[in-house]
């Protein structure tokens, strides 16, 4: 291996690693606040670029109807003043989609908002009613939703792969496209924003509090369902942006999200589903590991990444204490 190949592999690993990192942070956050392992995060991620492609071709994507149906269910379940948010959001989203056909800037915005709305509605409709359930039941629901959303993705978008035009074309140096730089910049900005939000805003701290002690948070007027909605909202937002930025580099197709989500999950497990910094560093490790294994043993690329889980799980099982509910 020479220096050129090494730098290619490093850049490739970094670019994928930061995306896994954002997914891992989302998974840790959602798990800490709601105890849900958000398996369908990969589908949410892929819905963003696929909906964008549909909008740019002047078609309304099926994900819009899915979001509106779930939003309707959310409004029915919330009733009263709580129904205002899904209703206004749903109508706004629909109008935005009508306006955004073949208008790229609006289409990007519409794709992001769609995924955020869908993510929050998913929590409100499927997870919030079973908030008292065990982690296992919540996981089963999450896996079920992953299968359903993936199937719906096939129905909505067909089996083809799409490659939306990059936001910025061209390469900075050989091996690093401007789009790749955008991915890195976005990751850096998100990390900073998350840090500032959790470090300095009382709303961010309320979210951490809800994750640390649900009863304590409730007694202080931090509603668990609101905290859950915010956590799902942040996770969907990060997933949507990651999907939009990544799609021009890796193609978008209904089945692509799962692997990305799973690698984010591997990284989150490295951090014990609890530590944000370790999860992010773990994601970088997964990214580098993946790019080097794809060079040396590309046939075993995915398998070798999941092999990383073995020592991580072994370590976690050694330091595991009794889990308090």
């Amino acid at each position: 291996m020479d220096a050129t190949i090494l730098s290619f592999l490093l850049l490739d690993g970094l670019q994928n690693g930061v995306v896994y990192g954002l997914l891992a942070l989302s998974l840790v956050l959602v798990f800490a606040v709601t105890r849900v392992i958000l398996v369908p995060i990969g589908e949410l991620l892929m819905f963003a670029p696929l909906s964008l492609v549909w909008l740019l071709e002047g078609k309304l994507p099926g994900t819009l109807w899915l979001a509106l149906v779930l939003g309707g269910a959310w409004a029915l379940m919330a009733r009263g003043r709580g129904a205002l948010l899904p209703l206004v959001g749903g109508v706004g989203l629909f109008l935005l989609f009508l306006l955004a056909k073949e208008v790229p800037p609006l289409a990007y915005l519409a794709a992001v908002l769609l995924v955020v709305y869908l993510g929050v509605a998913t929590y409100r409709v499927f997870f919030q009613p079973m908030r008292g359930a065990t982690v296992l039941s919540l996981l089963i629901m999450a896996v079920g939703l992953h299968v359903a959303y993936q199937g719906l993705g096939l129905v909505f978008f067909g089996p083809e792969q799409f490659r939306p035009a990059p936001l910025l074309s061209g390469e900075v140096v050989v091996g690093l496209s401007w789009q790749g730089v955008l991915v890195l910049l976005f990751a850096a900005l998100s990390l900073m924003a998350l840090y500032l939000f959790f470090r300095f805003s009382l709303f961010g701290k309320a979210l951490l509090a809800a994750a640390e002690n649900r009863l304590g948070a409730r007694l202080l007027g931090i509603r668990p369902e609101e905290a859950g909605m915010v956590a799902f909202g942040i996770a969907s937002l990060l997933a949507a942006f990651s999907g939009l930025l990544l799609a021009p580099l890796i193609n978008a197709a209904y089945f692509m999200g799962f692997m990305l989500g799973l690698k984010g999950f591997v990284a989150a497990i490295l951090g014990g589903l609890a530590s944000y910094p370790v999860a992010f560093l773990g994601a970088l490790l997964v990214g580098f590991f993946e790019s080097f294994t794809s060079f040396y043993a590309s046939a075993y690329k995915e398998a070798l990444v999941f092999l990383l889980l073995v020592p991580a799980l072994f370590y976690q099982s050694l330091r595991a204490r009794t889990v308090e509910e």
């Binding site: 701290k205 309320a206 509090a209 202080l220 007027g221």
Partner: protein, 243 residues
């Protein structure tokens, strides 16, 4: 008019009735204590009152019946619970814990600084340790933090569940000194305790709960001298538990 009035409160956990038809009321500025043995349903009364457990019966605040009880709704009225086990946020700093105590008021854009100063005046130890994670505090300091955090919500009625549990005797006295101070300042207190001696020395009235029902109710002074209470709750058993 009474600040809080509870009528026929029954709390169930599945088929199990933990509390049966408990009725009591509290005037503004008064301190009432619920005492009774382990498993008598003291904590369940609080849980039922706050809507944390399945409950029947009526609850009136300021004479108006409360429907759809939830901790969030009652909090905005000014009913704040310091739960057993304290329910602190161990990873957050002492100051963040306190600020989150005023979270609903923060949302209404009220200034929390003066309240923070007041809590630090009441508990100078918390000021010293305000940057430390709450999980690193000692048991007594954690109890102080839990009470301080509740005060940040400006309670009209403060509910305390076993504030002396697991604390060294000196720390229990310190906590009760502060509760006495709060009472003098006019905070209404509802105190659930196993440590009947301490609780009855602070409270104006006491209520003895046995097997989920009110066994005795009366002025704290009278209960302290009631032979049955003395035998059951103020006798030797107390010293053994404290040791």
């Amino acid at each position: 008019m009474s600040l809080l009035s509870v009528q026929g409160l029954t709390v169930r956990y599945g088929p199990l009735e933990a509390v049966r038809g408990v009725t009591f009321s509290l005037k503004e500025g008064e301190a009432l204590t619920l005492i009774g043995p382990n498993g008598a349903g003291k904590t369940s009364v609080l849980r039922g009152l706050l809507g944390l457990a399945q409950a029947e019966g009526k609850v009136f605040l300021d004479g108006a019946e409360v429907r759809g009880r939830s901790p969030e709704a009652l909090l905005s009225w000014g009913l704040v619970l310091v739960p057993e086990g304290r329910a602190l946020f161990p990873g957050l700093s002492v100051e963040d814990n306190l600020l989150l105590g005023g979270f609903t008021r923060f949302r209404r854009r009220e200034n929390l600084r003066p309240d923070l100063e007041r809590v630090y005046t009441l508990f100078p130890r918390l000021l010293e340790r305000r940057r430390q994670p709450a999980g690193t505090l000692s048991g007594g300091e954690q109890q102080m933090l839990a009470i301080g955090r509740a005060l940040m919500a400006r309670p009209r009625l403060l509910l305390l569940d076993e504030p002396s549990l697991g604390l060294a005797p000196l720390m229990v006295q310190e906590i009760y000194r502060i509760l006495g101070e709060l009472k003098r300042e006019g905070t209404t207190l509802l105190l659930v305790e196993q440590n009947a001696k301490m609780a009855l020395s602070l409270a104006d009235r006491g209520l003895v709960l046995e097997a989920g029902e009110v066994a005795l109710m009366g002025p704290a002074e009278a209960l302290r001298q009631d032979p049955k209470v003395v035998e059951a709750y103020l006798g030797l058993s107390r010293e053994v538990e404290e040791g």
